[in-house]
């Protein structure tokens, strides 16, 4: 894992002092809320429905046990005993008092974390593949490149006041586990025909009010020019992004309006200048970062065999374990989606337990996924049964990865000031309707995603089944959409028809699933069947 150097420590410490003074000035009345709001947002502090909400970045989703324990401590000391992992690999605390926010920031700094740039019109936390460094199918570990982006984008003077927020994802495998093409910039690490490392660069994706899959802007960018090219991408956006209309201010609108080819041409033109400025770090600097992501010392003699005699353990292994690149090892997904629970919520006690397991069995590493689960990336198979027993005792062994109850849901109207409808109760009811694991596994992979407003934090546009909560004359109403995907076959879901009540949408989802089960060909997922047969059979089943 990357460790802060003196510069990182000094930078964050200075921000803690600055933020402490800003909070004191707000509490004393020296600052009005209008003056203070942009300052607190720059540090990830929102005012939500019930209290202040504090959003903390987990860079590219990677954490150590020490860091997770610190989050557990914050949950206990400053919040109400739990935190909420988000679709951008961050964590949010929902019950923060303003006077405590600087102390929390100082606590975070002590474990090399912070909340800087988790809000505002700047470059946000760079996200990545939760299996990075462990996945059997990856070309290289994408996190050193994501870390390079973190260092480049943090406090970038030119990009601190962009037309709108800006999100980047970096992956290094053909399977996209990070919804890469639904980001403002998506980067896929590839090799060209000569075997040289470089990047495919996609620009102009996103969800929200106007969902778009990012088009390819550059087929192959040499690795040495990573930073200067992204600088050019941002410069063109910063110059021409629609500052006059916040609903059209994301880069996806610019790219769509002028066309991907024209945007790419302008980037190339800008890049011709930018790459002469010496922005690309020397290879030694990248190596300094990369060496900190060296693979952990895995046991080369670790046995591949696994005793699957316990049937419950076997189901969990089948569902929540994926292949590791090293023999005798596995990647474990810890589901934060117990049936009837709140997707992404994790208690302080659960965090401490997971931190202990990461320290003892996963080389002190864990990950946050954009699907709001946690991952132990480097586990010897011989330890799986012990881990499963510990997780099971803590309610953390739900074997539902990528099944219909593994629902992404934003906080919705239960917590969020922007929301129009509640997301969590809908997720709970759907999970309960499909609580039979046998039924879920028969249905197979089905990614269901729920947002409580058009901002789409719950990724409903990318759901095989997506649900959007809206306000219909003061009542909660839910629009259903099918056919979205955040994976390598990225697509935007289409609304199927008139909306439903809370219970009505649960019934509609069940009818959709039953229709799929009746129509599917062998091996087809819900998404495959929908793409093959189209909307009509589903519509007939749901609306009659």
């Amino acid at each position: 894992m990357y460790r802060y150097d003196d510069f990182d420590h000094g930078m964050v410490a200075a921000r803690v002092d600055e933020f402490r003074e800003q909070v004191e000035r707000r509490l004393s009345g020296a600052l009005t809320e209008d003056q203070f709001k942009p300052l607190r947002l720059m540090n990830g502090l929102y005012l939500q429905l019930h209290a202040y909400m504090y959003r903390i970045a987990v860079p590219y989703g990677t954490m150590s046990a020490r860091q997770l324990r610190k989050l557990a401590h914050i949950a206990r000391t400053y919040d109400r005993g739990y935190g909420h992992f988000t679709t951008r690999q961050n964590i949010q605390f929902n019950w923060i008092e303003l006077k405590n926010a600087p102390d929390i920031m100082a606590e975070l700094a002590s474990v090399e974390m912070h909340s800087i740039q988790t809000s505002g019109n700047c470059i946000r936390n760079t996200t990545s593949d939760q299996y990075a460094g462990a996945a059997a199918d990856e070309m290289t570990d994408p996190r050193p490149w994501a870390e390079l982006l973190r260092q480049w984008s943090t406090f970038h003077p030119e990009f601190s006041y962009l037309p709108r927020k800006f999100k980047v994802a970096v992956i290094a495998s053909a399977e996209d586990r990070a919804a890469m093409r639904l980001h403002d910039i998506g980067v896929e690490i590839v090799r060209n025909e000569a075997g040289e490392l470089g990047f495919k660069v996609f620009v102009g994706g996103g969800m929200g009010r106007t969902p778009m899959v990012a088009p390819l802007i550059r087929e192959f960018l040499p690795a040495a020019n990573f930073i200067s090219y992204l600088e050019a991408c941002l410069r063109v956006y910063n110059r021409y992004g629609r500052r006059d209309n916040m609903f059209k201010a994301r880069i996806k609108i610019l790219v769509h309006e002028i066309g991907a080819a024209e945007y790419a041409r302008q980037v190339e033109e800008e890049w011709a200048h930018v790459k002469t400025l010496g922005l690309d770090p020397p290879a030694e600097e990248f190596e300094r970062i990369a060496v900190q992501f060296a693979p952990p010392p895995l046991d080369p003699e670790a046995p591949d065999e696994l005793d699957l005699g316990d049937p419950d353990f076997r189901v969990w292994v089948d569902q929540n374990i994926v292949a590791h690149k090293a023999k005798g090892h596995a990647i474990v997904t810890i589901s934060l989606k117990p049936i009837g629970g709140i997707p992404g919520d994790c208690s302080a006690d659960q965090m401490d337990l997971i931190a202990d397991l990461a320290e003892r069995y996963s080389h002190d590493e864990l990950r946050v996924t954009h699907a709001q689960n946690l991952v132990l990336p480097h586990v010897a198979k011989r330890d799986l049964y012990t881990i499963w027993q510990a997780l099971d005792a803590a309610g953390l062994a739900t074997p539902n990865l990528d099944l219909i109850s593994d629902i992404i849901a934003c906080p919705g109207l239960d917590y969020c000031a922007l929301a129009n409808a509640r997301s969590i109760p809908v997720a709970q009811k759907i999970a309960e309707r499909f609580s039979s694991l046998e039924r879920q596994r028969d249905v197979g992979e089905l990614k269901l995603k729920i947002s409580g407003c058009i901002n789409a934090c719950g990724h409903h546009h990318a759901g095989h089944i997506g649900i959007l909560g809206v306000d219909k004359k003061g009542e909660e109403n839910y629009q259903l959409s099918f056919g979205g995907s955040g994976a390598e076959d990225a697509s935007v879901a289409k609304i199927i028809g008139p909306g439903f009540s809370e219970d009505g949408v649960v019934d509609a989802v069940e009818k959709a699933v039953e229709t799929y089960q009746a129509l599917r060909d062998p091996g087809e997922r819900f998404l495959d069947t929908y793409r093959r047969v189209g909307l009509q059979p589903f519509k007939e089943a749901i609306y009659g």
């Binding site: 009345g29 005012l47 709970q428």
Partner: protein, 98 residues
């Protein structure tokens, strides 16, 4: 009736204007009629409330019920965490929220 609500500056807790100060309990909210703007200007300047605004509500028996679901949820707490609700975790007390 028109009532005022906001968040406490220091704690962020949801508060309701009682006519004399700010209460955590929506039932203590008072009808401000057409005086909302004047009260809000004074109270926000005095830092006794943050992000305050006026909403429509209805008095039912001894209770005040905000008309919009968002403010009804604000009055009690997240519907999915009754253990964190301001009121006792009695489901009957929460029936009016949704």
């Amino acid at each position: 009736m028109r009532i005022l609500t906001g968040n406490d500056l220091v704690t962020g807790q949801v508060t309701w204007w009682t006519g004399e100060g700010w209460s955590l309990h929506v039932d203590e909210a008072t009808d401000v009629a057409d005086k909302a703007d004047a009260i809000l200007a004074v109270e926000q300047a005095a830092r006794r409330v943050n992000g305050a605004y006026a909403i429509d509500a209805t008095r039912e028996g001894g209770h005040v019920r905000p008309d919009h679901i968002k403010d009804r949820i604000r009055a009690i707490g997240p519907t999915v965490r009754p253990d964190l609700a301001l009121a006792p975790a009695d489901p009957a007390d929460r029936d009016w929220v949704i």
